[in-house]
């Protein structure tokens, strides 16, 4: 079943659209990564699909319903999102944060939490391993724990679609794998349709079934991960020299940066280097072990 379909989507600001001519579709049980350098429009795309950008044009169907005709309450029943930055000013507990996901289902403001709500909240907390943290305040948690709490909130919304904006940013390798294993489980066992914006190509290639590459707000390439990943494509999108091979022990494609001496010597190197490159180096750490 196709859950999300976008045709010729343009979004951003009225006089300055950030993404253009975006066409994509996502089915239940699919895991799509939107990749591209910083500023290529990944976050804007995720916001646009939730009607959060000041300007939005094109055709988007969410579970066969026109995005423009859905109000925020209806939309909240169809897709849940994990934002890139989340820093509440006030000290809510983990449980309170996750319970807010149930808002769109509660019509009576004084009724409190129903048995059904309680069950969904408990399941979300347990799936993400945040059940033991439920009475803690959000600002007492580590980055990885916070990320899992936000995923728990998205799960408690009980939507067929999940959107995540850079779920691995600010996390170390161990947490990155934890988060992606969890997402993989949700895709496979819960049949969720998942869309992530991700700049870490190795993570995306290892876990996602489909990929889209964005450059300057346009889709450069898209398709099944194993057919799509190609050295030239990555070099074109990120403007860096890379090496792509299959890791013998995991069987997964692996991308590593190729050091070029000219780049390091150039005094204007900083301007030439895409700003995502330092993160790319960290993420390719695995391949240096070989």
């Amino acid at each position: 079943m196709i859950l999300l379909q976008a045709e010729n989507l343009q979004a951003g600001y009225e006089d300055r659209p950030v993404i253009h001519e975006i066409t994509l579709s996502l089915e239940a049980g699919e895991f799509l990564a939107v990749c591209g350098p910083n500023g290529s429009g990944k976050s804007t795309l995720i916001k646009a699909l939730q009607k959060l950008t000041p300007f939005l044009q094109g055709r988007v169907l969410v579970k066969d319903r026109d995005l423009f005709r859905l109000n925020h309450r209806q939309l909240a029943s169809l897709m849940a999102s994990v934002p890139q930055v989340f820093q509440p000013v006030f000290d809510y507990s983990v449980e309170e944060i996750v319970a807010m996901a149930r808002y769109y289902r509660q019509s009576n403001p004084f009724a409190g939490i129903s048995a059904e709500d309680r069950e969904a909240i408990e399941e979300a907390l347990k799936l993400t391993g945040t059940w033991p943290l439920r009475h803690k305040k959000l600002n007492q948690l580590s980055g990885g724990e916070r990320q899992r709490v936000l995923i728990a909130r998205a799960l408690a919304q009980e939507t067929p679609l999940l959107l995540l904006d850079e779920p691995s940013s600010h996390l170390d390798l161990n947490f990155q794998l934890q988060i992606y294993s969890l997402l993989k489980y949700l895709q496979k066992e819960k049949n969720k349709a998942i869309l992530v914006a991700e700049h870490n190509l190795n993570l995306a290639a290892a876990y996602c079934t489909k990929m889209i590459f964005l450059k300057e707000g346009k889709i450069v390439a898209g398709g099944q991960t194993e057919k799509l990943l190609e050295k030239n494509l990555i070099q074109e999108v990120f403007q860096v020299e890379v090496d792509l091979r299959i890791n013998r022990s995991t069987g997964l494609p692996e991308i590593s940066l190729v050091h070029s001496a000219s780049r390091e010597n150039a005094p204007s190197g900083l301007q030439e280097k895409p700003s995502g490159s330092s993160e790319e180096k960290i993420s390719t750490g695995k391949s240096f072990k070989e």
Binding site: K47, Q50, K51, L52, P54, N71, H72, R73, Q74, L75, A76, S77, M79, A80, S81, P83, F86, P88, V89, F90, D91, Y92, S93, E96, I97, M100, A101, Y103, Y104, Q106, P109, H135, Q157
Partner: protein, 332 residues
């Protein structure tokens, strides 16, 4: 003890303390009133002192209580609205607008009045509402409407109104004393019509705020998060801004400018009742009422027979207590 229990316990304690506070307020004053007289008034409906107790002390205590509740609720709303614990009821210029109006009415020698509002109060209410509306319209006209632009415009407009007030006061030295008395805030002139007027603003506002408390929880997480969780952000924001402004403007126009309550009470209450606005709105209103009731009692008895401005008392007693609370919560 979990937050919910702590909250309920806090509410219960507040209600007891408030009743005790009212009893003390009815008993205390320049005319000695035995406790028996108050009980006989409550249980038998008559007392030799009924006029003093009902029309002087009760009106004054009630007005102080309602003003405190209104200011604290307004502060709680605006702190959530701006996601900023430093926000208070006067941050959008409600107080500066009111002072300008009050001083203008002295300057112009206006005498029109309504039940519950003197000429100064009426002008204060009008110019307070006018100034906040202006701030809202100016900041909306900017391309990207943000809470930040609203906040900054409010601060700037408040400064402008204060400058005009100072200028008017500077030119009219004879009106100075009267104006300063009003500006510092006092309940000395409380009467029943003022109580009714404030009740008319507070009750509906509190009901709507409690009804929309879940939406405020979502708003306080950020607009985008609130939207993606299903909250109709724009309309909820408008309603809350309206509520907070009405509460601030009405309290200022009946009681003058009493600072500190709207900033400190919601902040302190949050340390006890937690961040959830369903609890916070209720306990802020109750705690704000109690706080100002006691402050006014102190203001009129500490240097009896002369009176302290109640704003002096709220700051003098509230600030140390608040610093103590902050330090305690940081340690735990």
């Amino acid at each position: 003890m979990n937050v919910r229990c702590r909250h309920l316990f806090f509410i219960a304690v507040l209600i007891c303390l408030t009743l005790a506070g009212f009893f003390l307020s009815l008993k205390t004053g320049p005319v000695k009133t035995p406790s028996g007289e108050i009980f006989s008034l409550i249980f038998h409906g008559r007392s030799d002192f009924s006029d003093i107790i009902l029309n002087l002390r009760l009106t004054r205590a009630l007005l102080a209580y309602l003003t405190g509740a209104s200011l604290a609720l307004s502060g709680a709303i605006l702190q959530g609205y701006f996601r900023n614990p430093m926000a208070d009821p006067f941050v959008l210029g409600a107080s500066s607008g009111a002072s300008l109006g009050a001083v203008l009415s002295l300057e112009l020698g206006l005498s029109a009045s309504l039940p519950g509002l003197s000429a100064q109060g009426l002008m204060a209410l009008a110019s307070s509402l006018l100034l906040v509306s202006l701030v809202y319209m100016i900041s909306r006209r900017r391309r990207f409407e943000t809470q930040e632009s609203l906040l900054l415009t409010g601060i700037a407009a408040g400064a402008l109104a204060s400058a005009l007030t100072s200028f008017l006061l500077f030119r009219r030295a004879d009106a100075y004393e009267q104006a300063v008395f009003w500006l510092l805030g006092s309940f000395a002139l409380a009467d029943w019509s003022q109580v009714k007027l404030l009740l008319l603003a507070l009750l509906p506002a509190a009901a709507v705020a409690l009804f929309l408390a879940r939406e405020m929880n979502l708003l306080s997480l950020g607009d985008e998060t609130a939207r993606s969780l299903g909250c109709p952000v724009n309309s909820v924001r408008k309603i809350f801004l309206f509520l907070a402004t009405m509460l601030a403007a009405f309290s200022v126009s009946v009681a003058g400018i009493i600072g500190f309550v709207g900033l400190i009470v919601p902040h302190a209450v949050r340390l006890i009742s937690g961040a959830d606005h369903r609890r916070l709105f209720l306990s802020s209103a109750l705690a704000g009422g109690f706080f100002l009731l006691i402050s006014d009692l102190i203001a009129r008895t500490a240097l009896s027979p002369s009176e302290l401005p109640v704003g002096v008392v709220t700051a003098a007693f509230g600030a140390p207590f608040f610093i103590y609370l902050l330090n305690r919560s940081r340690r735990s």
